[in-house]
Symmetry: C2
Subunit: 500 residues, 2 copies
């Protein structure tokens, strides 16, 4: 085998693996949007088989040999070398775990998810404890096994799956800046808005078809390519599908259009990233989205930075009035802007506003890091949760249903994922700021419903870069420096305190 043929073998192998993961993506989408409930079991069998096949492909021992040979290939360019780096990363992580650990974890997660639904409903943490204990035990084992191979702590190894290159000591510093800022800021923001006139409610009902029509129209404004994607309905909104077939979903509430509207803008941000990945490497590891935080930065850049701006709301308000036949003071752009920038302390992460959301994340990050590190016993989680809520948000949950039982992440084995939400929010602020500096037409464009300037900047600085660079490098190239909290904090002070 020559070095050149080794690289060719790698790319054709991973292109086939991508054909399989594309199939999985569409079947998963179908499960969440279209599938009749009587076929849950049949579908689970199909997805399990394809996932096993996919795992077998990306842990194929020939990959190790091909990687060894391809490293001696002098004819490879920057993208090819980065592709080898990404393939090596995937192969290392995926082969780090013994098969019985993968299977034990999969079974523990299934059992725990099922228990969680009932335990949450009953606000009964004790009922969840045994199965969640098992999930945690296996996550610690997985983190240790991966960490040993990567030379990382268990928590860093778990984090690394979602956020390659991220390390807890960096996140500690970033989140410390935010944690110092947030409590006082939240007080100030709430005080600030209390001095403004009350916001009149937007009165419904809002017909689903009108909501859908408005959402589709705004997706077009943002630049969603309907030749390579769709909008549908699911219980929990997501962006999924396949290469060149990006499927986003939303969930309509006839009593409140505002939430689904901004949800669609959020998922469209994810979708633009997926649709903008480099076509030449679309099916290769180097052509994938860089990380979860970068992905979340794209959704939050659209939802929080661009679409909650005064410029966008001024553009969108007449379209909203037209879609729903709205009139009167509640439908003025300024009122809708106020509606979309309310700050309110609450117990539930997924209902939190932009200003209080990071507190929810910092809490979860601290707790999961302590549990994986062995510094917090799972049995002590409810108390630690409530203490943290009091410290960060100044409120204490009345029960565990709206406390430590609210999220599916831990029961489903997603430890190390939470920080990417707030890293994404900070990244979004830093990127949007850089885009505005680079092109003075970004905000004026948004004001006239022309997302061309901002999307072009994102295309060349983020989307088309795929996984060519590590995250720090990507952000430094795009914004001049690695991630810090300052731009996000400035953004919050401007929007919620009316500064400058």
């Amino acid at each position: 085998m020559t070095a050149a043929s080794a690289y060719a073998s790698l790319t054709s192998h991973f292109a086939r693996a991508s054909a399989l993961s594309n199939a999985i993506g569409i079947l998963q989408w179908d499960s969440d949007t279209m599938m009749p409930k009587g076929s849950v079991g049949t579908r689970a069998d199909s997805l399990a088989l394809l996932r096993v096949n996919h795992h077998a492909m990306i842990t194929d021992p020939r990959i190790g040999d091909w990687l060894d040979s391809a490293r001696h290939d002098d004819g490879l360019g920057t993208w090819e070398l980065a592709n080898i780096r990404e393939i090596h990363r995937i192969y290392t992580v995926e082969t780090a775990l013994p098969g019985d650990l993968v299977e034990a974890s999969s079974k523990a997660v299934s059992a725990c998810e099922m228990t969680w639904r009932q335990a949450k409903q009953d606000a009964n943490f004790a009922a969840l404890l045994p199965t969640l204990q098992e999930v945690l035990r296996l996550q610690r084992e997985i983190g240790a096994a991966k960490g040993e191979k990567l030379g990382l702590s268990a928590y860093d190894a778990l984090l690394n799956d979602y956020e390659p290159g991220a390390r807890a000591h960096r996140i500690d510093a970033l989140f410390a800046d935010l944690a110092a800022f947030l409590p006082g800021f939240t007080d100030a923001a709430i005080a600030h808005q209390s001095r403004l006139p009350a916001v009149a409610p937007l009165e419904g009902p809002f017909a689903v078809e009108a909501q859908r029509g408005l959402g589709l129209a705004m997706m077009r404004v943002l630049g969603f390519d309907f030749e390579r994607g769709r909008l549908d309905v699911s219980a929990h909104p997501f962006c999924g599908g396949a290469d060149n077939d990006v499927r986003i979903t939303t969930h309509y509430d006839e009593a409140d259009f505002a939430r689904a509207f901004m949800g669609v803008m959020h998922e469209t941000g994810h979708a633009l990233y997926e649709q903008g990945r480099p076509q030449a490497y679309l099916h290769q590891p180097v052509g994938q989205a860089r990380s979860m935080s970068v992905h979340e930065s794209q959704s939050l850049l659209m939802e929080m930075q661009a679409c909650r701006s005064r410029e966008f709301i001024t553009f969108a308000a007449p379209k909203m009035r037209e879609a729903f036949g709205g009139s009167g003071p509640a439908w003025e752009a300024e009122a809708i802007l106020r509606h979309y920038t309310q700050v309110k302390r609450g117990f539930i992460r997924i209902e939190a506003d932009e200003a209080t959301y990071p507190a929810h994340i910092i809490l979860r990050y601290r707790l999961e890091k302590a549990m994986i590190g062995g510094d917090l016993a799972l049995a002590d989680l409810p108390g630690a949760w409530n203490d943290g809520m009091q410290e960060l948000l100044g409120i204490t949950p009345p029960n565990d249903r709206v406390g430590c039982l609210q999220d599916i992440h831990w029961p489903s084995g997603g430890w190390g994922y939470f920080p990417t939400y707030t890293l994404g929010a900070m990244t979004a602020a830093q990127l949007f700021d850089a885009a505005k500096r680079a092109d003075g037409d970004v905000l004026p464009g948004i004001a006239r419903g022309d997302f061309g300037p901002v999307v072009r900047w994102l295309r060349s600085n983020i989307h088309e870069q795929g996984s060519l660079h590590e995250t720090d490098d990507l952000l430094t190239r795009a914004t001049g420096r690695p991630l810090d909290a300052s731009v996000f904090i400035t953004h919050l002070r401007r929007r919620y305190l009316g500064e400058e």
Copy 2:
């Protein structure tokens, strides 16, 4: 390996193969109903990979060993033995072809289908000839290879793929009876209807949502299980999906609801068969539908036998009037019945009515058998087609677009499929007749919108039998004798000549 473990290995292997074919079924459905057009290439890669994997599974050499061992298993019951018979059948046929022949045929078909679309549009048979010649050459080779392994002629071997156990000499006899009957009958039926008062047209437009609502309501009447299936829209209606997830489609025309309405009843007939297959063997070969003609018999039993009966139309007419706000003479049950039982000579198979449809099929059957057998040169097809149309239907196509270029079956490599349509129509007549004899409440049930009696009879006599019996045996058990043309002919004489 013990004989018992061999059988267990077979069933677990084929259950996994079925998890794969279920995935393919849903992805194929998605391609035809949901997929944005920009992802055609990505989807083709996914489907090709899954099909290659599926073919590799069902030709796994271990199957041969397991079959050898399982034959010595004394502990197997009727269903298990039939499962072994079906697995052996699949394994024999699927391993009959060398890989390069499969690949050559797949490529020839792709090229020919592409040429066919344009050639049909241009009514240019000469443009199709070279690529269709190659498809035919490879079909003859495939038929010869399979035939050698099965001890069959090439045509019988091709036919056997769609209709296990069927042989041309039997079909020749059945179709000879029909061919002798049809021309005179068609004259008589047209003369008969010309003596009746003219049928007033049903005036549209018919809103798609109203059509969809009526179709869903009637699917419920027939017994479609929406917990294990869906109704959607595609360019060409079909019944597909997966085990326990049966997806039918239709195509709405706002100027004509009647066609989609009966199309939905047709696909619901297919779907009832799929939803009624034995749950204990749902993922095994013995639990599959018996053959294409038996499948078509289930759709035609619903569409032609049950839903074009006076009893059903009398029940359905008020629902139609309600759905579309129809009133006046055209909306009387008798007028709608006349609308649904018009006989008219035409060039196009898919537009043909129940009475003239068999002539289209007999023509194609004779021609494809002659071409596979080497008795008709492909270059002589247009002339032979037009001669046959004149003989069987008394009309001559003005060009090949509405003649021998109209169907995709031959360009797409579907040789041996055509006769199953008319075998299905005959089987439907024979089954419906037997159901009515067995349960006097079949027709009265349909008249009151209760399909329980007919569906219960089909469930126990056909659906739940899966592939337990060979087709002749299945029909003999259900109706007392193998297939013949007499019941179908009697049905046609009664409905279209008003006899008895």
